[in-house]
């Protein structure tokens, strides 16, 4: 790209930025009007959890989270449809292996804690899933071909677990309860925890599979040999 053109684009973009900042300033100066926050906080006792962000994510705006999990599923399907994964890394040296042996269990335990604590404090399915996914990334860096995930058939079940269970709960509630994803007050806490657990597993395995970057490698030379020895 030549220099003059990038300078011109720079000037136009800065004008756009100035315009946006001016609009933002006038919006802030005007009275913002009623907000959703008081309503969200007022309904908190009925939502089944005591942390407002989790209540918004899994109860008030559960549609959003359901569709977000569907976007994640679509992304991993796109990555898988592009062909097999590039070859993995060489087996790690002893120091990295020991580090992975320590970090991966710790990440899984911390993920479980974050999932549980999401009901009443900062935390929840996304953070817990991210920790599981990064445990997978570390395993892949340490030489595990499939980033700690099971074989392809099982991986398919794992990545649809979030959307699947979410939809199943929603449809069951629509048939037997008040409406799609409208939890009865008594069981709201456990339904939310159930959905969050499935979402954590789905997010973690999807992120790890996205890091592998293609269709899961078949059991290849070394891993197949070790599996045969183990069997």
């Amino acid at each position: 790209m030549n220099r003059d053109l990038s300078l011109l684009i720079g000037i136009l973009v800065s004008l756009l930025a100035l315009l946006l900042i001016w609009i933002f300033y006038t919006t802030l100066a005007a009275d913002p009007g009623p907000r959703l926050a008081p309503l969200a906080l007022e309904q908190l006792p009925n939502s089944g959890v005591s942390h407002p962000v989790t209540a918004v994510l899994l109860n008030y705006r559960a549609y959003d989270t359901l569709l977000e999990l569907a976007v994640l599923l679509a992304a991993i399907l796109g990555i898988w449809s592009l062909g097999p994964a590039p070859s993995g890394f060489q087996p790690a040296g002893p120091a990295l292996t020991v580090l992975a042996n320590w970090i991966v269990p710790l990440a899984i335990i911390t993920g479980g804690y974050l999932l549980w604590v999401g009901g009443h404090a900062p935390g929840g399915a996304f953070q817990a899933g991210a920790l599981l996914g990064s445990a997978g990334v570390i395993l892949r860096l340490a030489g595990h071909e499939r980033a700690g995930l099971p074989n392809e058939a099982a991986q398919r079940w794992l990545v649809v677990a979030g959307v699947g269970l979410f939809l199943l709960v929603g449809l069951l509630l629509a048939v037997f309860g008040a409406g799609f994803l409208t939890y009865p007050k008594a069981s709201a806490k456990w339904l939310i925890l159930l959905i969050e657990t499935a979402a954590t597993i789905a997010i973690g395995s999807t992120l790890a599979a996205a890091y592998v970057g293609g269709r899961p490698p078949l059991a290849q030379s070394t891993s197949a040999a070790s599996k045969d020895l183990g069997a």
Binding site: F126, Q127, A130, G133, S134, L207
Partner: protein
């Protein structure tokens, strides 16, 4: 007190914008990705200041951590591919030189 807070906010924001500019302007892919990871971690710090610990956690783990790992892997792959291409070109040149030497003999 309020002046102190203002100075603190300005330092946070100036560093944030500086990191973003550095990440955007760096021509070397691996440098750019590392600056982007630093930007993401700094951003999560700013969000913790704004009273959003959930989002700060998610940004540090997902945005900076996993996104950065994905981009680093891509940058390293492309660097390796460039190296291989250069090596191949060098090898070809060497072969050609060998052939011309033999011709001379």
């Amino acid at each position: 007190m309020s002046l102190l807070l203002f100075v603190f906010d300005s330092i946070l924001l100036l560093t944030l914008l500086g990191l973003a500019t550095a990440a955007v302007l760096s021509p070397e892919p691996r440098n750019a990705v590392m600056l982007f990871i630093a930007f993401g971690l700094w951003l999560s710090l700013v969000w913790a200041r704004l009273g959003a610990p959930d989002v700060a956690l998610a940004e540090a783990a997902i945005g900076a951590g996993i996104g950065g790992a994905l981009m680093l892997a891509a940058a390293r792959r492309s660097a390796r591919r460039d190296n291989r291409r250069d090596n191949r070109r060098d090898n070809r040149r060497d072969n050609r030189r060998d052939v011309s030497c033999q011709d001379a003999q």
